[in-house]
């Protein structure tokens, strides 16, 4: 009876490959995992069967980590928790050993590995899965863009050509090189090409949250706009081409909806109805997409102290808030976009200044994202149901202005005016377009949407105080006024030391 040693899983939830992929619908579940990779952390919501090991499951969530990496070290947000590696994320003092950075890195790389495996599984199938493959290639390119933006060109080169094992991947190339940039743009241009076998569906033919050609245009616009940062070479005409395609195919949500402004309707539970403006999203389907990261994190971490939990639709964990540096870009004027809450101390004075880094109630609380719908009805009490807008056409509109300004040295401020009109801001004094007004407008329109670090880098004012001078605690937890300049090393995140230890082929980013 030695054949008994050849067991196969008997668990109803575990299968081998021949059992798991039998119909196209099965492959769609594999594809759904790729999307879910941005939203949740594993196969059991909210936790218990995580994708990654070695870190708290909720804290490792993709969107949570990505959001923090793009927001916390900027003038838009600061976190008051003392968890390992957490203060360093807010103060630009992370090291290669930072556990949160490690989690982010592995999330991004894991997502790429998953896409590779899915593509391999599809290619081994007899079904026609070309549209599924195209979506997987888009999502892989999307994560590779994160890798490029956060870590640079030295990340591992892994595609569907690799196999699963312990072999050591090679890096795409040297830090500052162009290999990964070229790969991402080529991949994206391939899956929007009408002559390709594997191509995305057209704008208007996909569901909300699903990749289509419009999403790929937006991503291409972003990659090309930031080309100077990535490869030291401008690609403004390509950036313009794709950004224009986006602007021409999507429209701003224009009017009040139920109890909220047009702007705010983009950040509440029923924001899926704004699919004309929201180009791509990370979806939370009722309470069936459960996580301790994602929107549950973004909304709860923003809620605490004396804030109205019913309004936020969240019990509140009291972690993230903003600072006067964000409040001030609104210049005290009425604006639908200024969704803030200010605490008062026992004497009734507003505590907008953070004097104690660890006190949540100090600073400027942000009420932009809420787990309620446009009527104010709450979502699930624990797990947020609001969809995260990854790309919005408002962003593309501002990109258009920026590209025009970068190409010509000047630009029309009409796009800014359009956004001011929607936000109910007096348009009497719409400023001239320059670096500062672009950054300020992007802060007003897009704060807390995960763009800020990238924007500051593009204007060379992330580690340098060139346009935006400084902000509270920039570069140091003991300097509330912040430092003007910090080491350029922090322009990109370090490849985690565990990864450098595991893969001697990789070279650590400069300065770490």
């Amino acid at each position: 009876c030695l054949h008994q040693l050849d067991t196969t899983p008997i668990d109803p939830n575990v299968d081998t490959v021949d059992k798991v992929y039998r119909t196209v619908a099965d492959y769609n579940q594999g594809l759904a995992k790729l999307y879910a990779g941005y939203a949740i952390t594993g196969q059991q919501g909210p936790d218990g069967n995580g994708d990654l090991g070695g870190i708290d499951e909720g804290a490792s969530q993709y969107l949570r980590r990505y959001w923090e990496a793009q927001e916390l070290p900027t003038d838009e947000a600061i976190n008051c928790w003392g968890d390992p590696g957490q203060p360093e994320m807010s103060t630009m003092s992370w090291t290669a050993a930072n556990t949160l950075n490690e989690a982010l890195y592995y999330r991004v790389i894991y997502q790429i590995s998953l896409a590779n495996q899915f593509i391999r599984d599809c290619e081994a199938s007899d079904f026609d899965l070309s549209s599924q493959i195209a979506e997987a290639r888009f999502l892989r390119a999307y994560s590779y863009w994160h890798a490029l933006d956060l870590y640079g060109n030295g990340v591992p080169k892994i595609t569907e050509e690799n196999t699963v094992g312990k072999e050591l991947p090679l890096p795409w190339g040297k830090q500052g090189g162009r290999e990964l940039f070229d790969y991402i743009t080529a991949e994206l241009e391939s899956i929007i090409d009408a002559s390709s076998e594997e191509q995305l569906v057209d704008i208007g033919e996909s569901m909300f949250g699903q990749a289509n050609k419009g999403v790929a245009y937006m991503l291409l616009g972003k990659v090309f706009l930031n080309a100077e940062v990535y490869i030291g070479e401008a690609h403004l005409s390509e950036a313009k081409k794709y950004t224009d395609l986006v602007v021409n195919n999507y429209t701003l949500s224009g009017s009040h909806k139920n109890a909220v402004s047009a702007y705010q309707s983009l950040f509440v539970m029923d924001n899926y109805e704004e699919h004309k403006e929201i180009i791509f999203s990370i979806n939370y389907f009722g309470d069936q997409t459960r996580t301790w990261g994602g929107m549950t994190y973004i909304i709860n971490a923003a809620t605490g102290g004396d804030m109205d939990r019913d309004m936020m639709g969240a019990p509140g964990w009291g972690g993230n808030r903003s600072m006067t540096s964000l409040l001030n870009v609104f210049e005290g004027k009425t604006d639908d976009r200024a969704l803030f809450f200010i605490h008062k101390d026992d004497q009734g004075n507003e505590t907008t200044d953070i004097v104690d880094f660890m006190q949540f109630t100090q600073g400027v609380q942000v009420t932009k994202f809420r787990n309620v719908d446009s009527k104010g009805a709450p979502g699930h009490a624990t797990y947020a149901e609001t969809n995260y807008p990854v790309f919005r056409v408002a962003d593309a509109i501002l990109m258009q202005t920026e590209i025009e300004w970068r190409m010509n040295g000047f630009a029309s401020n009409n796009n800014i005016r359009t956004l001011w009109e929607r936000a109910g801001r007096s348009t009497e004094s719409v400023p001239e377009v320059n670096a500062e007004t672009i950054l300020n407008e992007r802060a007003r329109e897009l704060y807390w949407e995960g763009h800020r670090r990238q924007d500051l880098r593009r204007f060379n004012t992330f580690t340098r105080g060139s346009v935006v001078q400084t902000w509270p605690y920039k570069g140091s937890q003991i300097a509330p006024e912040g430092l003007t300049n910090v080491s350029e090393t922090f322009e990109v995140y370090p490849i985690p030391s565990s990864e450098i230890g595991a893969n001697p082929n990789l070279i650590q980013n400069k300065g770490y």
Binding site: V20, G165, G304
Partner: protein, 974 residues
């Protein structure tokens, strides 16, 4: 010749009356036996006869009657006969013939008092074996480490074999201790196999040693029926608490600080509230006898009601045990059958309340009329409005946690087996053996928390208005089966003695279960069935050869196949060799009178560890389906509907994963001096584990995970064990024995990665309270597993730690991760166990204790609850109590990673003290009554600042405290 009657009393070596001694007129069948008082009376027809006194285990004594009217006889132990039989894997041997490191503790030597677990009986009794209870909860489990353990990730638990059935050590849901299936009162002996020459016969499960538990059997004595009743009642009490601020001290410290407005007017000692003194009882009845000379039997029943010191925690257990050992066909066919049944009801209490009781504001009352919606319990809410919702990150009211939570289980387990030995007719040297056994268990349990529980107030699936409450139900079934077929051949030819054994073993482990969760209104939130299994098949053999009763050699080999590994790595071979030399048997030793026994042993062997903690299919490319809460949805604008998908995840895997392999070298010396008044052994061992499993970061993108369990490391253990048993006083009615064992052990990781990378810092482990993902320990090359990695605290002139000031150990001008150093580890380098027993006439006194040195413990209770910024958390709108250590440190924020909190775990603990008295004449000599009182855990001597330094794993975070237990017990034999 003249008729006469002779009488007398027979006593044992301790001077205690010895009942059942055969008193026979030599050369005749005329005789009698002694009664319970050791007394006999016999009518004789002549003076000129010799009386022969015999009893199993004692030297037979003859006396010529002559003119004596009374002959009192002190019996002497027959060293040869009483030769300790050692149960070993697939057989038995004797202490004198053992070639490996094997130590047995029998019922006599077990720890005394209120002990409900088999592990407790053995604690401190055997050198090299460290047993740490998980705390003071009723029926709590223990960590057993034999020679320090040989794994990091894989299990370090020894293999436990109960009456020939190797049991699954993973336990079962709803049981704190998997070994609770065995009632300690039914245990005859526990044998510890320590070195590879003893354990290698268990192959891939033997790296961490083996403990063989043998239960009591029926008697060989044909005529008697022995009934034994054991009963006790005990009181459990706690004599130590975490030193937190009293309500007054708390008001003092809060005066003028933010959050003062939240203080209440109560004075609540939360620890007094959640803990109680409790009363437990234990009853056991055993009946043993022998039906018509061919069916020895023993049946027993036990009932234990153990109430915990944490309110709401208890265990009641009923055990049934039946052993039958009949012999057939002129004793050629013998059967050893046993069935054990266990029925346990657990109430777990709410352990979380222990931590809450430390941090809950002492100025708040238990009940507060503002919170009728939370069952009337004071609750922290997000604002001062009682209806604003519970503040989710504030602690919950400890008494609400106790009273509003019911966490119960009931577990049934049965272990049974039959071993059939057949001695071939006409070829009696060969015995064929079949052992078939099973270990089945089923558990069901769950948690019930009503709709008024504040911490569940939002519990409901989406769109359901009826929120609150939590109900979880789980079931688990385990069905493990074993079949061994083997044969044994014994032969003595002149000076050569052979004992050869070989066979085949098959084991199947299956478990399955369900978990269902609902809210208090019955809306289902989770429903997840699961199942897994594995097979283990083995071929094994052992050959013992003895020359001239002086030189002995043992060779064993086992080949194991497991379904857990790929066909390429599935089979492993585990050999061992041991040699022994009975030095005392040498002619030149005969004249050395003070040496009564001397034996030198040396062994080497290889064992494995296949319980690698990675599930049963770690080598396979598998896919896992997501549950209904890990779905992904898209909104379809054209239909206005959401479409959702379950997900499928490909799992990371290591197709080359295999067992860890441990090579053990052992040299031992067994000695007996001064006519065995002084006995003991000394051992030296060295163990090297290769292919050590480590959970390492895989090169990003090379696998479908970031961390993979794979065979990469090495680790070594070395140690010295000494044991000494002394019969200090040995007189007719006064005996005093003393035994001590000492272990020095050192474990060190020698390799952890595939590529040799000196900069590899190691694997961080040891999660602590105080922040998400905080760890305090590390597995690092060159150090003991679970070493503490911390900053070196700087102190001011008054010896007070300076907050945030740490030594820049690498001198690079900044304090960062690189400055952390290894400040000790939780593994004791030196530990002792000692026992002493004193008997004077009918009185008996015994005491046992343990000590350990060289271990550290991380005081997470203080590190997490002793900073000024914990007093008031504005984001949570609540105030927290702190420990009095805040007066020593004055820390504003928690300094979780300071070596200040690495504290010495040295201790000397008295485990139990017992005083007993024997009433020999009870019920007119028909019965024997023993009354005894014990105190368990009366005192611990330690400098540790926390409640108890003996913590498995070394992180003190509100362990269920071990009570001191006072017990009064009775033992009746008739």
């Amino acid at each position: 010749a003249q008729e006469k009657s002779i009488k007398g009393t027979v006593v044992d070596e301790n001077g205690a009356p010895l009942p059942g001694v055969a008193v026979v007129v030599k050369g005749t069948t005329h005789g009698t036996t002694t009664n319970f008082d050791g007394e006999y009376i016999l009518n004789l027809s002549s003076d000129n006869v010799t009386l022969s006194f015999s009893y199993i285990g004692y030297l037979t004594k003859d006396f010529l009657v002559g003119s004596e009217m009374r002959i009192d006889v002190p019996m002497e132990v027959d060293a040869e006969q009483l030769e300790e039989v050692l149960v070993i894997g697939y057989g038995s041997t004797t202490k004198k013939d053992a070639t490996g490191s094997v130590e047995a503790v029998t019922a006599d030597g077990f720890n005394k008092g209120a002990i409900n677990s088999p592990q407790g009986l053995l604690q401190g009794k055997v050198a090299g074996v460290q047993i740490t209870t998980g705390g003071g909860a009723p029926g709590s489990g223990s960590t057993i480490r034999i020679r320090g353990g040989s794994s990091l990730i894989a299990s370090n638990d020894p293999l436990i074999v109960i009456d020939g059935v190797p049991v699954d050590s993973d336990g079962i849901s709803g049981m704190r201790n998997p070994l609770n299936a065995i009632n300690p009162a039914d245990i005859e002996s526990m044998t510890v196999l320590k070195d590879a020459s003893a354990t290698a016969i268990y192959g891939s499960r033997a790296s961490n040693g083996v403990i063989i538990i043998t239960t009591k059997k029926g008697s060989t004595n044909e005529s008697s029926i022995n009934v034994n009743y054991n009963g006790s009642v005990s009181v459990n009490t706690l004599n130590n608490q975490v030193d937190v601020l009293s309500a007054d001290q708390y008001r003092d410290i809060m005066s003028g600080r933010p959050g003062e407005h939240l203080l209440g007017s109560a004075n609540t000692n939360w620890q007094n509230e959640v803990f109680q003194n409790s009363v437990s009882t234990d009853h056991n009845v055993g009946v043993s006898g022998n039906v018509k000379g061919w069916l020895p039997y023993r049946a027993s029943a036990g009932y234990t009601m153990d109430n915990g010191t944490l309110k709401g925690s208890s265990m009641d257990r009923t055990t049934l045990n039946l052993n039958l050992s009949p012999k057939f066909l002129d004793d050629h066919l013998s059967v050893n059958a046993s069935i054990k049944g266990m029925f346990v009801n657990n109430k777990f209490g709410n352990d979380g309340a222990i931590g809450s009781a430390v941090s809950y504001d002492p100025t708040q009352p238990i009940y507060d009329s503002r919170f009728p919606h939370y069952g009337g319990y004071h609750t922290w809410t997000t604002t001062d409005d009682p209806l604003s919702g519970r503040s989710v990150n504030a602690p919950s009211n400890p008494m609400a946690m106790i009273n509003q939570n019911s966490n119960t289980s009931n577990v049934n387990r049965s272990i049974g087996n039959a071993q059939i030995d057949y001695k071939i007719h006409g070829f009696e040297d060969l015995v064929l053996k079949v052992n078939a056994g099973y270990d089945y268990s089923s558990a069901k349990g769950g948690v019930y928390e009503g709709i008024e529980t504040s911490w569940n107030e939002n519990n409901a699936p989406s769109g359901i208005e009826e929120k609150g409450g939590f109900v979880s139900d789980y079931t688990q079934e385990k069905r493990n089966e074993v079949l061994d077929l083997f044969a044994q051949y014994n032969k003595e030819i002149g000076k050569h003695r052979f004992d050869v054994m070989g066979g085949y073993s098959w084991q199947h482990f299956l478990q399955e279960g369900t978990t269902v969760e609902q809210n208090g209104y019955g809306y289902e939130m989770k429903n997840q069935p699961w199942a897994t299994e594995y097979y283990l098949m083995s071929f094994f053999g052992r050959a013992n050869y003895t020359f001239n009763n002086k030189y002995m050699a043992t060779v064993t080999v086992r080949q194991d196949g497991t379904s857990r590994f790929s066909p390429q790595n599935r089979w492993g071979t585990f050999p061992s060799l041991a040699l022994a030399w009975k030095i005392k048997e040498e002619p030149w030793m005969q004249s050395v009178n003070f040496v009564s026994d001397l034996k030198l042993r040396a062994g080497v062997g290889v064992t494995g560890q296949q319980n690698i903690g990675a599930g049963d299919y770690p080598y396979m490319n598998t896919y896992t389906r997501g549950d209904e809460y890990s779905r992904y949805g898209f909104y379809n604008p054209s239909t206005g509907q959401w479409e959702y998908f379950n997900t499928i995840r490909p799992e990371g895997y290591d197709e080359n994963i295999k067992w860890e392999q441990t090579t053990t070298y052992n040299i031992g010396l067994d000695y007996g001096l001064f006519n065995d008044r002084l006995t003991g052994s000394a051992e030296v061992y060295y163990r090297l584990t290769d292919d050590l499993l480590n959970y390492i970061p895989v090169p990003g993108g090379s696998n479908l995970t970031n961390m993979l369990l794979t065979n990469v490391g090495s680790m070594e253990n070395k140690g010295v064990e000494l044991s000494l048993n002394a019969k200090i006083i040995q007189r007719q009615d006064f005996h005093w024995d003393f035994g001590v064992n000492m272990t020095w052990n050192d474990s060190k990781i020698t390799k952890l990665t595939t590529v040799d990378d000196p900069s590899y810092e190691g694997v961080k482990v040891g999660g602590i309270a105080g922040g998400t993902g905080e760890t305090i320990q590390i597995h690092r090359v060159g150090y003991t597993p679970y070493s503490f990695l911390v900053y070196e605290q700087i102190y001011d002139d008054n010896g007070k730690p300076i907050e945030g000031a740490y030594v820049d150990r690498n001198g690079d001008g900044k304090i960062d991760e690189q400055d952390k150093y290894i400040a000790g580890d939780p593994m004791a380098n030196l530990f002792f166990g000692f026992t002493t027993r004193l008997m004077y006439k009918n009185w008996e006194f015994s005491m046992a204790g343990r000590a350990q040195f060289g271990a550290q413990v991380y005081n997470n209770v203080d590190s997490n609850n002793s900073a000024y910024d914990q007093l008031y958390v504005s984001a949570n709108n609540n105030t927290n109590n702190v420990t009095t250590d805040i007066y020593n440190t004055g820390f504003q924020s928690r300094q979780l990673h300071s070596d200040y909190y690495i504290q010495s775990a040295n201790f000397l603990r008295i485990d139990n003290i017992m005083v007993g008295y024997n009433f020999n004449n009870f019920l007119k000599g028909k019965a024997n009554l023993r009354v005894f009182g014990t105190v368990n855990n009366p005192v611990i001597f330690t400098n540790y600042k926390g409640v108890d330094p003996e913590i498995s794993g070394g992180i003190d975070n509100n362990m269920y405290p071990r009570p001191t237990t006072y017990m009064l017990g009775f033992n009746v034999n008739f």
